[in-house]
């Protein structure tokens, strides 16, 4: 029987450059990025820019959470802590005259330190107990920060910046941060750290038998995730110019950060991005018209995903592709 040429080569005659997976990993994302970067030139209006800004922030935290929760399987409900700490750190720094970009770096660092404080005691706990402990930590921090006078306590904290407001500046900062987050995610996934995380997710004991130090790996992933989340909190804080502990440390923020990757496809690279886009755009636009339904939507989505398609949107795509390929009878499905 004539050996079937690998699918890639089939198209070699027409477009050789598209025959490598590298295309999808390099060209397509760059295309998307370019489109987003030049979008403001088409005059989409401040509201759309704001929407995209918020989406980029969500993409960052979603991808960040996925590093620990998706690759590593450690479900944390407590990422609002890092988001909020990042927000307040950046706010304090900017008010103190520090350059905004440095403030965001500072925000990420503070969040990173916090992640160590949280992780050291809690990573000894297994799965669900870790998740529950993070709920406790998140809420305790919220109550303490609501009473912390240095940051205004329950009055909230205001950033007073001199100079005009340039919405596009915030837009590009958030876009850059989101790109960094995705890049980090890809790098982690392809590194030994990523392999270690996946091993821990699949079977922690076996992984440690093979020489992986679960405790250290989890701490490292947690630190990366927290740093990105903290920076995102800082970026958001600068835009909103007024932050409040009941807002940035709210339990529902931690929930949202967790929901986005799960909806999109936990454990994949682009799943969290899709989930964040869905959450960011849908949440802001459509659900704003029906505020009464959003918990119902997310709860049902979560239930359906857990029961029927744990791979989220990406998983669904995979399945539909396999069905399509089988229907077309191509070599997409290996005989």
């Amino acid at each position: 029987m004539e050996q079937k040429a690998p699918l890639g080569m089939k198209r070699a005659g027409k477009m050789r450059v598209f025959s490598r997976p590298r295309f999808t990993l390099v060209v397509a994302p760059l295309l998307l990025l370019t489109i987003l970067a030049v979008l403001p030139l088409f005059g989409p209006g401040p509201n759309i820019i704001r929407l995209l800004f918020v989406t980029f922030v969500w993409v960052t935290v979603s991808v960040a959470w996925n590093i620990l929760g998706g690759f590593g399987g450690q479900v944390s409900f407590g990422f609002a802590v890092f988001y909020g700490l990042g927000a307040f750190t950046a706010a304090l720094a900017i008010n103190g005259g520090v350059n905004p970009v440095l403030s965001f770096l500072l925000a990420g660092s503070v969040a990173l330190l916090a992640s160590l404080l949280v992780g050291l005691p809690t990573f000894r706990l297994k799965g669900p107990y870790f998740a529950i402990a993070t709920i406790g930590v998140s809420e305790a921090v919220r109550v303490v920060m609501t009473n912390f006078s240095l940051t205004g306590g329950a009055s909230g904290y205001r950033i007073m910046e001199t100079g005009a407001f340039h919405q596009l500046q915030h837009f590009y900062t958030a876009l850059a941060l989101a790109v960094v987050a995705v890049a980090v995610s890809i790098l982690v996934r392809r590194s030994n750290l990523g392999l270690a995380l996946i091993a821990i997710r699949e079977d922690e004991e076996a992984a440690s038998d093979l020489g992986v130090n679960p405790f250290r790996v989890k701490l490292l992933a947690h630190a990366l995730a927290a740093a990105l989340t903290g920076a995102a909190g800082g970026v958001y804080a600068r835009y909103a110019a007024f932050i409040h502990p009941q807002g940035v440390f709210a339990f529902y923020i931690g929930v949202a950060i967790l929901l986005m990757p799960i909806i999109g496809g936990v454990g994949t690279i682009w799943g969290p991005v899709i989930g964040a886009v869905v959450y960011g755009l849908v949440h802001e636009e459509l659900i704003a018209s029906f505020p009464q339904f959003h918990l119902l939507l997310y709860g049902s989505l979560l239930i359906l995903i857990i029961l029927f398609e744990p791979g989220g949107v990406v998983g669904l795509l995979d399945k539909s592709f396999r069905i399509l390929a089988r229907a077309r009878g191509t070599s997409g499905s290996h005989p």
Binding site: L51, F321, S331, H334
Partner: protein, 420 residues
């Protein structure tokens, strides 16, 4: 084997991107090149909570604004000299669900994309604070109808206004009222106060106002207990136990409507007695009377407006409001909103055109001589906030509410001390 893995891998990713691109485009493109709304109406943004914790007061404030708009449009609209004709007012309404971040985002949206000339909103303090960042950013005037915290107005913002007198004046007036009871022999001198303040700027200001009066009038009262509580708690029994232990004569709390109801219910359960009780700006609300019945008797409150004020314009407003909404005005909520809209309309007319900065300039000098508010004159102070006096009302048996202070506006006698 690798081929099909590659294939699926590739397909999955390319579709993921396609999806992302599609999602972004589908939601972004319609927004591109949004045309200006026609110049045959004046768009006013209104951002208030009609769902969430603050839904009830938010709804009442919305009704006040809509009544004002209705009346303005009935007479043809606002005269815009530059265009030589009257233009009707169009309300662009958003429900912020009592959520701060949403509130700020919606105000931003109204100001940047909906072509409004001004925005009314911000109930209550927390939402108002979040929103207050936007007016200067987009150089659009903003009038808050439900936030009284002085911190909003002390930042040097140039485009913000508020139709609520500052909360520290509320605290001051409360203490002043109690002082007047002492002067009239109803209460003894040197009584002890226990304060329970909500953990917000509102509570802080209230406490400051009380302290200021006490310091200016030594010998009248002594604060023996003062603590903050978190808004929205379901259980105040710990705090109330401490209040009970403080053995004070007068209990003054500053709370929002929900917390007032919760706290007072648990207060009754502790079996404590105080000669006078107040929950700040809450007291006569119908919801509280429904939930607690006679337990709300003799509670007094300092509020920004009462439907019992003896001005003809108040009587007219109450009748109009009842006709427009089908229910009587609840506490002070609709009045500050109604007058805010009227002041805005006057400022727009005086500006002669729809330039937002010109309207802002007019707001700085506008004077509403038939205001519903105590004193009958509405004028924004230099920092944008008005400074009208408060009235003290007291709940009387069988659902009656009397204005008991200041004496010029009083409709009944203050009952002090509270009967056991």
């Amino acid at each position: 084997m690798t081929n099909c893995l590659e294939h699926n891998f590739r397909k999955r990713y390319s579709v993921s991107f396609g999806l992302l691109l599609f999602a972004v485009l589908i939601l972004v493109l319609p927004g591109c090149g949004k045309g200006k709304t026609g110049t045959n109406e004046i768009a006013i943004g209104v951002v208030l909570p009609i769902s969430g914790r603050e839904a009830k007061p938010g709804q009442y404030q919305r009704e006040g604004i809509e009544l004002a708009i209705h009346q303005i449009n009935q007479s043809g609209g606002i005269l815009v000299k530059q265009l030589g004709k009257k233009l009707p007012v169009k309300e662009v309404f958003y429900d912020d669900g009592s959520d701060q971040a949403k509130s700020a985002g919606l105000v931003e949206r109204a100001m940047s994309s909906d072509n409004v000339v001004a925005v009314l909103g911000g109930y209550s303090t927390a939402l108002g604070e979040a929103e207050s960042v936007m007016p200067d950013r987009y150089q659009t005037p903003w009038i808050t109808t439900g936030s009284a915290a002085t911190t909003i107005f002390s930042r040097g913002y140039q485009y913000i206004f508020g139709t609520l007198s500052p909360t520290d004046l509320l605290g001051y007036t409360t203490a002043e009222f109690l002082g007047s009871l002492v002067d009239h022999g109803k209460l003894k001198k040197g009584l002890k106060l226990a304060l329970a303040l909500e953990n917000t700027d509102h509570g802080v200001d209230y406490g400051k106002g009380i302290d200021k009066w006490i310091q200016q009038h030594p010998g009248y009262f002594r604060v023996v207990f003062s603590e903050k509580f978190e808004l929205g708690s379901t259980d105040f029994s710990g705090l109330l136990q401490k209040v009970k232990n403080a053995r004070a004569d007068i209990f003054l709390a500053d709370a929002h409507l929900q917390d007032y109801i919760t706290m007072h219910r648990q207060y009754i359960q502790t079996g404590t007695y105080h000669q006078m009780i107040s929950y700040g700006a809450r007291g006569p609300e119908a919801d509280a009377r429904k939930a607690l019945g006679d337990a709300t008797n003799y509670i007094f409150a300092g509020i920004w407006w009462s439907d019992k004020l003896p001005y003809p314009q108040v009587k007219r407003f109450v009748a109009d409001y009842q006709g427009f909404t089908g229910h009587p005005p609840d506490s002070w909520y609709p009045a500050t909103a109604y007058d805010a809209m009227r002041a805005l309309a006057t400022a727009i007319e005086q500006a002669g055109g729809l330039d937002k900065t010109a309207i802002r300039d007019q707001l700085r000098t506008v004077e509403l001589k038939d205001s519903l508010l105590p004193g009958q004159v509405l004028r924004f102070g230099k920092n944008g906030q008005i400074n009208t006096p408060f009235v003290i009302v007291q709940n009387k048996p069988t659902a009656k509410v009397d204005i008991v202070y200041p004496p010029e506006a009083a409709t009944g006698e203050a009952i002090a001390p509270k009967p056991h």
